[in-house]
């Protein structure tokens, strides 16, 4: 009887102590999934989600403090991917996905104030002071920062146009005869 109690007590102390030590020394800083989520986000730190950049949004997502539909540039694809990652149901109904958008400068409205090019997080807008600005489509992430600051409303967001290089066959429509 005593031997059994003693043995179990010793075992309990040993294992409990071990776990306690492990919790102290092998502690993981932050939520490990946050890093993975950050890799999935566009990374342009545009702030449309209301957080301070993508890393902040990733932390909030990892703590389930934010909706997976928070990222407009990422669109529906990102929302579904995030829902898969976090194991939650994504409510996509509220999300209007227009597909990838890119900025476009109306040349007759642009006054060359360089406000947009200064704001662009990916340096996708080229042009100097008093010169018409242009958008490098490949570098634009559609974060809309430029459109927000343009004093003449010369920047509009447009759907990325399909080219021969980006076009692919659609999924075959199945009319299954049963």
């Amino acid at each position: 009887m005593l031997a059994a109690i003693g043995a179990l007590l010793a075992l309990g102390l040993l294992i409990g102590g071990g776990l306690g030590l492990a919790a102290y020394y092998l502690r993981v800083e932050g939520n490990p999934i946050a890093g993975e989520i950050e890799d999935m986000l566009p990374g342009s730190n545009c702030g449309q989600c209301g957080f301070l950049g993508c890393a902040d949004a990733a932390n909030a997502l990892a703590d389930h403090k934010a909706e997976v539909t928070l990222c407009p540039p990422g669109g529906r694809d990102l929302a579904t991917a995030l829902a898969d990652k976090l194991g939650v149901e994504a409510d996509l109904s509220s999300m209007k996905d227009t597909g990838p958008m890119i900025a476009f400068v109306f040349e007759d409205l642009c006054i060359g104030c360089t406000k947009c090019s200064k704001r662009c997080p990916t340096d996708a807008i080229v042009g100097a002071s008093k010169q018409i600005h242009g958008v490098v489509d490949d570098a634009c992430t559609g974060c809309e920062k430029c459109a927000d600051v343009c004093p003449t409303g010369a920047i509009a967001m447009r759907k990325e146009s399909t080219t021969i290089q980006t076009w692919h066959w659609p999924k075959p429509e199945l009319a299954l005869a049963s």
């Binding site: 990374g43 342009s44 490949d138 076009w167 009319a175 299954l176």
Partner: protein
């Protein structure tokens, strides 16, 4: 010679009798020609002419750009009336950068580079000449020929294989070329052998072209410089795929997603061989190609030498138009051809045929559920399981379709052809491959975005630091100036007259008080 077997394959109705006995005929010039800048695998060519320029036949209009690209020449003499975007001969029907040329009807040649004696010229010069002539693979993929020839510098080569299988139904352009221009072709084979430094060449021709085989054999017998053999291969689709032909002829299996050069073999299409010979012997660039016009709905079937850039509508018109509205209008063969999105689109270097197919030839049957009969597995020449891949793609499990070999699919369409349930298998694979590429592109863009953001942030940080440093410097300078001024004033005071000097401390005192 012993032939090796490949897995799978199908025996579609060849339908070559429609056009195989029609001699190659010169297509008259159209009123407008559209020459796309990207007719080949790789980067689009860089235009060096401007709107309004007069060009002569064979003059360079756009230069090859980058490692894999091809030069583009004027198909006839005339005036360039536009350089802009125009509908491309592509299933999407999307526009592509294109030069529009209005022929002047003179068809006047530009001064061509001097003819070369291939066997007295070093391989580099020959490869350069072939690159300058804009020769690309005429079998369909339009891979720049010179790039392939230059693989000799990277790997040890032992055999040249000339792909003359022409396994696509209806298409007879290579057949006619071999019957009518065998001498030039064999000369071309010898030129390629010399360029890549191999002694042995095998010409693989399907058995359904006995006259072409006869013509080639006659020419081969006339030369003894290289060990060239004409080999009859079984008539079976898709024998004409480079990797499959290599396996049939040599028994060497090319690894997945590798070049045939990795097993020491270079494959060139027979029409490419002809174009190479023309470029070397006569300095003629690739500005026309043989196109088969066939199908039961076209009035006149035949094989035509068509200048690159001729609109499809012009060819159809020249052939007397349609007997009846075709069920399908294809660019290429009936197995792998793309639907023609617009007949205004031009013929480019890789177009081998125009098919106007009738209802009898297309057979649209209702799609039934898959019963796992595995006919497609037996037919797949790449050893894949098409029914399983299609099931996974249908369920949007694209990545898992890749796990079972989606990337090794050559989109030959054999599976769709044999499927008793009429499931559009190859269409699923084309969709999945495109969709995966789009995903990869998006992932790449995301990576690039992160790099750009980092770069931007670093630059901003640097500017901020520089500003701070500049401000600190200005402050320091101001302080130094002030000190200097004080110093000077002090010195002035000392060197001044004693009366003033005696008053100087006073004045300083006053200032200090102030």
């Amino acid at each position: 010679m012993r032939l090796f077997k490949i897995k799978g394959g199908i025996h579609p109705d060849g339908r070559k009798e429609l056009a195989e006995n029609e001699k190659i005929e010169q297509m008259p010039l159209p009123t407008l020609m559209r020459i796309p800048l990207k007719q080949h695998t790789g980067a689009p060519a860089n235009p060096i002419v401007a709107k309004g320029d007069m060009v002569k036949k064979g003059q360079v209009m756009a230069l090859s750009r980058g490692a894999v690209s091809a030069t583009i020449h004027a198909p006839t003499s005339g005036r360039i009336i536009a350089i802009g975007r125009f509908v491309a001969p592509h299933a999407s029907g999307l526009p592509e950068p294109t030069i529009t040329l209005r022929p002047d009807g003179e068809d006047e040649w530009d001064t061509l580079p001097p003819p070369l004696d291939p066997f007295e010229t070093d391989p580099d010069t020959l490869a350069n000449r072939i690159a300058e002539a804009g020769v690309v693979g005429l079998g369909g993929a339009a891979f720049p020929a010179a790039v392939k020839l230059n693989l000799r510098n990277r790997t040890e080569l032992h055999t040249l294989i000339i792909n003359a299988a022409e396994c696509e139904p209806y298409i007879t352009c290579d057949d006619r070329l071999m019957r009518e221009r065998a001498e030039e072709i064999i000369d071309g084979v010898a030129i390629i052998c010399h360029t890549i430094g191999v002694k042995k060449a095998l010409i693989g021709v399907e058995k359904n072209k006995p006259e072409a085989i006869k013509a080639l054999k006659k020419q081969v017998a006339k030369q003894d410089r290289y060990d060239i053999k004409v080999i009859e291969v079984p008539t079976r689709y898709p024998t004409g795929f480079a990797k499959h032909l290599v396996q049939i002829l040599t028994g060497l299996e090319v690894p997945a997603r590798a070049l045939t050069a990795e097993v020491g073999v270079i494959v060139h299409n027979v029409a490419t061989t002809f174009a190479i010979q023309q470029a070397v012997r006569f300095g003629r660039p690739l500005i026309s190609r043989i196109v088969t016009v066939s199908g039961e709905m076209i009035t006149r079937k035949g094989n035509f030498e068509v200048p690159i850039g001729t609109p499809i509508s012009h060819i159809i018109e020249h052939c007397g138009g349609f007997i009846d509205e075709p069920e399908k209008l294809l660019l290429g063969g009936s197995m792998m051809g793309d639907p023609v999105s617009s007949t205004r689109a031009p013929i480019i270097k890789g177009s081998n045929g125009i098919l106007a197919l009738g209802r009898k030839e297309t057979s649209q049957k209702p799609i039934m559920p898959c019963i796992r009969c595995t006919s497609c597995v037996a037919a797949c020449p790449c050893g894949l399981m098409p029914y399983e891949m299609a099931a996974r793609i249908k369920a949007d499990e694209l990545e898992s379709a890749v796990d079972i070999g989606l990337r090794d699919c050559i989109a030959c369409g054999s599976c769709s052809f044999v499927c008793p349930a009429n499931i559009p298998l190859v269409q699923y694979f084309n969709y999945a491959k495109g969709s995966l590429t789009a995903k990869q592109r998006a992932a790449h863009k995301q990576e690039e975005t992160k790099r750009l953001v980092q770069f931007h942030d670093e630059r901003m940080e640097k500017i901020k630091k520089e500003k701070q440093a500049a401000m600190a410097r200005m402050k320091a300078e101001r302080a130094a100036k002030k000190r200097l001024k004080e110093h000077e004033e002090a010195a002035k005071a000392k060197t001044a007259t004693p009366e003033e000097a005696s008053s100087a401390p006073k004045s300083e005192k006053v200032r200090a008080e102030a």
